[in-house]
């Protein structure tokens, strides 16, 4: 199956005009001898939220980490298939592709908040400093903008130089979102960003993501069906490393075609 042949999920006119940000085609992945992903093909539309759902251990996070080649940090991994990052069709998995260049275009937020052990300001500025931005005014401006977008500005604007560890868990995760947003990534990978947070902080982050979806392309791994239903446009269901079902959230979550999806959703509704 090629990406071109893949059915674009929604047949509404609105969906047709969205170009693709990411084309994942026939992706398989191995950890040592164990195959974790099997022939996954998945389009990700620009400035939409695509949610990856599925039981734990189904390979959601593994898939996410293929996209910015974070698996490269550990030895013993192997990719097969293609991931193309648009525009330009950067062949993410090709051996001659520098993973650093891929990561410069993609931002990521992890399961547990993982701020750097430094000030709030330096956390947000980190991505820009890595890219060689030195001008104080530009840094100041972008830090403020990113913190505003992450909905954290009002809470921290008077203590930007406080240590990031002094923030609450929910605040730390929003700080991590601001950190990922600051270099203006083309694609944002979110790996269960609310799984370590309490319901109030979760609600806050969901609201934030809903706001961000008009400006950013977001790929969200979540185990919360309600979360996918609330904020995602497209939903992909993974089961034992295979993509079982993919389509608009309304279709996959309400009228799933595959029995495995149905069973999973039923289990969650119960």
């Amino acid at each position: 199956m090629t990406v071109a042949a893949l059915p674009i999920p929604s047949r509404t006119a609105e969906a047709e005009e969205r170009p693709l940000k990411l084309r994942i085609a026939n992706l398989s992945f191995w950890y040592g001898r164990r195959q974790v992903l099997f022939d996954v093909t998945l389009p990700v539309r620009e400035r939409r939220i695509t949610a990856l759902i599925g039981p734990s251990g189904c390979g959601k996070s593994t898939l996410l980490r293929c996209i910015n080649r974070l698996h490269d940090l550990e030895p013993g991994h192997r990719y097969q298939g293609r991931i193309l990052l648009e525009p330009g069709g950067l062949d993410v998995l090709a051996p001659h592709t520098d993973p650093l260049l891929v990561r410069l275009r993609i931002g990521m937020v992890f399961q547990k908040p993982n701020p750097f052990p430094t000030s709030i300001y330096e956390n947000v500025a980190a991505g820009l400093r890595i890219r060689g931005v030195r001008k104080r005014a530009l840094l100041d401006e972008q830090v403020e903008k990113s913190l505003r977008r992450a909905g954290l500005w009002a809470e921290v604007k008077d203590r930007l130089h406080d240590h990031a560890f002094n923030l609450s868990g929910g605040q730390q995760q929003r700080l991590c979102i601001a950190r990922a947003l600051a270099p203006e990534p083309e694609l944002l990978l979110l790996d269960e960003p609310t799984s370590a947070l309490d319901p109030a902080a979760t609600a806050h982050i969901e609201a934030l993501l809903s706001e961000l979806k008009s400006r950013y392309t977001i790929l969200l791994v979540t185990h919360l069906m309600q979360q996918a239903a609330r904020i995602a446009h497209d939903v992909a269901f993974l089961h034992l490393g295979r993509l079982v079902e993919f389509g608009p959230a309304a279709e996959v979550l309400v009228r799933p075609r595959d029995p495995r999806t149905r069973r999973y959703l039923a289990g969650h509704a119960a």
């Binding site: 910015n68 990561r103 410069l104 993982n114 750097f116 052990p117 980190a126 991505g127 400093r129 990978l189």
Partner: protein, 302 residues
């Protein structure tokens, strides 16, 4: 009640109790012995410890002798040692923890570092004698001494660096890489600052060992009788700094103490005790600093 128990079990219980008592006594005995020894050192040394002793040069006459060149030398050597060993050791630790591919070379380096830690310190001294003092022509100087001590503590600094790096959470490395940082940026900007307290603790422990080292300094030609100080590192006219002190002949607290101990007269033994009190205080103080740092770092950890 216990009289109804079979004798074998009763005996086992008795032995158990005895060992428990013995175990309590043993650390107590060790501590007691040490306190007696310390007490003796302090009792002999304290009467001599005054400002005159700290600010006078050594002398043939015990009542006028002091340790000024000794402690100045110790501090000078220690600072150069740190300046040499810390960058080298941290760099090697970074390489092994973050760069080294799994292979023969890495394995060789690792085995080698473990072995270096077991080489007697006096052999480092002889290496310095042949290589730095005579080979490079640096002479019996502060620089030669510091280079020897730097080689000596290098394995300790490397191991401490690796342990500190390993203690940095994996998620921090990932966050940096996901942001687009390359390995150098990840290490220098994020990982190294996070590991710094751990590395610092290891370095300080290593320095507390270095300050007490005697044998390697003897081998590179330390003098036990010096009546002058190394030239000042500062100059009134540009370029304001001067490296000449690095090439000055040297002594150190440990050497001074050893020199006095080697003399037969009891009066010099008392001076040795006084120098020993200063040396011991310095070594323990540096070590205690490391312990405090570690406890603080543990409390601050997220």
């Amino acid at each position: 009640m216990s009289s109804t128990l079979p004798p074998r079990i009763r005996r086992a219980r008795l032995l158990e109790l005895a060992f428990g008592l013995f175990g309590l006594l043993l650390p107590g005995a060790a501590a007691f012995t040490l306190l007696v020894l310390m007490f003796d050192l302090v009792r002999s040394g304290l009467p001599h410890l005054d400002w005159d002793f700290l600010s006078a040069f050594p002398s043939r006459r015990p009542e006028r002798a002091g340790i000024l060149p000794a402690w100045v030398g110790s501090l000078a050597i220690l600072s150069v040692t740190a300046a040499l060993a810390v960058p080298l050791g941290v760099a090697a630790g970074l390489y092994l923890e973050a760069y080294a591919p799994r292979g023969a070379f890495t394995r060789l380096v690792e085995v080698n570092i473990a072995n270096l830690a077991g080489v007697p310190s006096i052999l480092y001294g002889l290496l310095g004698l042949a290589l730095f003092v005579d080979g490079l022509g640096l002479g019996a100087s502060i620089l030669s001494a510091a280079m020897v001590l730097a080689l000596l503590i290098l394995p300790v600094v490397i191991v401490a660096t690796r342990e500190a790096l390993r203690a940095v959470p994996r998620t921090l490395w990932e966050a940096a890489y996901a942001l687009g940082a390359d390995r150098r940026q990840t290490l220098l900007r994020f990982v190294l600052p996070a590991a710094a307290p751990g590395i610092l603790t290891g370095v300080i422990v290593a320095l507390s060992r270095a300050v007490g080292e005697t044998a390697p300094l003897v081998a590179v030609g330390a003098l036990s009788f010096i009546a002058f100080l190394p030239p000042s590192p500062l100059r009134p006219e540009p370029p304001y700094v001067d490296a000449e002190w690095l090439f000055s002949p040297f002594t150190a607290l440990s050497i001074q103490m050893f020199g006095w101990l080697s003399r037969p007269q009891p009066a010099f033994h008392e001076l040795a005790a006084a120098a020993g009190v200063v040396l011991l205080a310095l070594a323990l103080l540096i070590n205690a600093l490391a312990i405090v740092l570690r406890l603080r770092a543990r409390r601050l950890a997220p």
